[in-house]
Symmetry: C2
Subunit: 397 residues, 2 copies
């Protein structure tokens, strides 16, 4: 078993805070500040433009992509960093639709993160010609896959409830119907073991600022199945995805394999923070993280259910069916979460009634679970929330 | 006149280097390291997810957009930061095409930066239905605008030669033909006075890591003319461009005005560096920068032409017709630039034969101009370059 006290010591965690919101924004890896500072002064400052080669900035999107690939079952050379998750959703969908030119339907589910649905909506709006986005309830998505579907767009782990789709089974179903799959790993990468190769996933996208701890606005990633990569035509045909960016050709020729999914100049400072965050992942394994995550979430569910009968579990009780978060429902969930935050238990509220808590074994242990249960019980027992509190603006997912 | 010794002291400039490549990557503002460090430790580290509101991260794309707006003649509330320039080109073009649904042509010129052309090519490929990208020589672009053109895509200042298009005249011509304009300000913002309002430009996009000195991979910006902003439909319909991102609606409703051009989570660390860089712009005016830039470029042209008859000026001799760079042609330009770089005069080579030198008065003065002229003359006089040197990979534009 990995030493989670060791990984924990790699994070800056404010004194007295029980931070169960790493599924929104991961905490600061202690070495990130130093890494970014050195990128700024020793690289940007002293190397100036030569940093693109001398400091390896130009190769970072694929170098880092390979490191993330190890956490999601993707071989070297199949993952590249850049842009935001929303852009990567658009990019994956546009490529998938071109690979199924006779089909017009993107199939998604109502449990998907809204930005995925919006990007799909924007894409079909742009394409016109009877293209459409169809959404069904999460439990109906598998049954809705048929020969009319060009591509499925599914977030593996539901951002509100933590319910996890069966990637392998849905992908098999999609392939049997001749459809492709785009998997959003926002709440999977670093949270649960992902095996893109084993599941035969076609495209996958994800962000790095949640369980991977890259910091606010860290770059997204995209995976393309190796045997599709050379035939996937990029719709976002940026110069860094060109076969020879520095030839400055007038015409676009896609780069080799995953390189073609690069678009513009990569965010070097954000990538430096991400590299420091990934170093911590070298100290553990996804299997250990998952085992520990299940221990922690089981303990949390048992504790809250024993103490707070008014809170209804929204997350699947069976560990295999959920990600690394636990959610409860309560009609006054928003006000309850405010009361918890005031008492330094940081979770998230998601409309209309979800209290969401993320468990990330890299820095969360039994003490935090017990502490959180105790405070949640106090707040619920004493009805310590402001029942009149009107909804203020919620925070970033 | 602004005190350029003062702005110069705000930059870290490596000893002995004559850096004439700020039009590729601007140098490090001394306060950027501290600003980013404080964003990392005091904001990300201590505020964690609450930084989105408490530290104002969520509002930074428009707050910073307003500051950049002042440098490009754009009123408050018309510019927003995010993504990369290539993505912003796509976004502007897609919106423009929707505003001219009966027209199918994007008109550009062969002097445009290749990524702009690639993104346009990717977009028309995606749209199909007879959409096309047409390119003509830069000097022919004005004459090629007619009633078939939906939108022009023009980079104001040519990245190779520094030749500057007349934004106002071309925009007038476009409007007279019922076309819209997308202006790429990559080599304009912070380089020359830009008056988007005065020119009645429809869309403008640009990057911040050249003359604005935001560092490698700094975010791009997009401007939409205020009276178009509410009717411009975003094709890249990301959640942060939604009217209420935190309502987590299933359907996209575009945000107000320029807010709808936001897509995904903004790069907070890169924005912190950009803010430090923009503070330096508060110490001067674009008019002073331009006046000084003309002095420096005139002096450089005169010096090189007097000393190096083998180098042919590629930049317009008339200052009003060029940006803030000077380029010369030579068949062995690549090898010559390597020889200059070895002697610590940093410029850029651009295929096939362009030697490119950027002049940014914020930190470049007569001493650098004279020093560069002297070394260029030595290299040319003594034929000090490796005439056999094969072309190695060039650097980022």
């Amino acid at each position: 078993m990995s030493d989670f006290n060791k990984t924990r010591s790699e994070f800056h965690l404010p004194e007295g805070l029980i931070y169960l919101d790493g599924n929104s924004l991961g905490p600061l890896p202690r070495k990130a500040a130093e890494r970014v500072a050195s990128t700024i002064t020793a690289e940007w400052g002293d190397m100036l433009v030569t940093g693109w080669n001398k400091a390896g900035w130009m190769a970072k999107p694929t170098d880092i992509g390979d490191r993330i690939g190890k956490l999601i079952g993707a071989p070297a050379g199949t993952v590249v960093m850049g842009d935001t998750l929303s852009i990567k959703v658009f990019q994956a969908l546009a490529s998938a639709l071109r690979l199924r030119p006779d089909r017009k339907i993107i199939l998604s589910d109502t449990g998907n993160f809204p930005s995925d649905l919006y990007m799909a909506e924007g894409l079909v709006g742009l394409l016109g010609q009877d293209y459409s986005l169809e959404t069904v309830a999460p439990e109906e998505v598998e049954g809705a896959i048929d020969e009319t579907v060009a591509v499925t767009l599914i977030t593996e782990v539901d951002y509100r409830t933590g319910r996890m789709h069966d990637m392998k089974r849905i992908t098999e179903k999609a392939h049997a119907a001749g459809a492709l799959t785009v998997w959003d790993l926002a709440h999977s990468a670093g949270a649960v073991p992902v095996d893109l190769t084993g599941a035969d996933a076609d495209f996958a996208v994800g962000c790095t600022y949640k369980y991977l701890n890259s910091g606010p606005g860290g770059p997204a990633f995209i995976y393309v199945r190796p045997d599709l990569a050379e035939s996937a035509e990029p719709a976002l045909a940026g110069w860094l995805g060109h076969e020879q960016p520095f030839a400055f050709d007038q015409n676009y020729r896609p780069g080799r394999g995953i390189e073609r999914m690069r678009v513009g100049t990569p965010p070097v400072l954000q990538m430096a923070a991400l590299e420091a965050a990934l170093d911590i992942w070298d100290m553990t394994t996804m299997a250990d993280v998952r085992a520990r995550s299940i221990e922690l979430t089981e303990r949390f569910i048992a504790g809250v259910e024993a103490a707070c009968p008014e809170l209804t579990l929204a997350t699947p009780r069976e560990a295999a069916l959920r990600g690394s978060q636990v959610s409860f429902r309560h009609p006054e969930g928003y006000a309850i979460m405010q009361a918890l935050i005031a008492r330094k238990v940081i979770g998230d509220f998601r409309a209309p009634d979800i209290l969401r808590f993320g468990f990330t074994p890299l820095y969360i242990g039994e003490a935090e679970v017990e502490g959180a249960v105790k405070i949640i019980a106090e707040v619920m027992d004493g009805k310590l929330w402001d029942r009149e509190e009107y909804k203020r603006r919620a925070r970033v997912t």
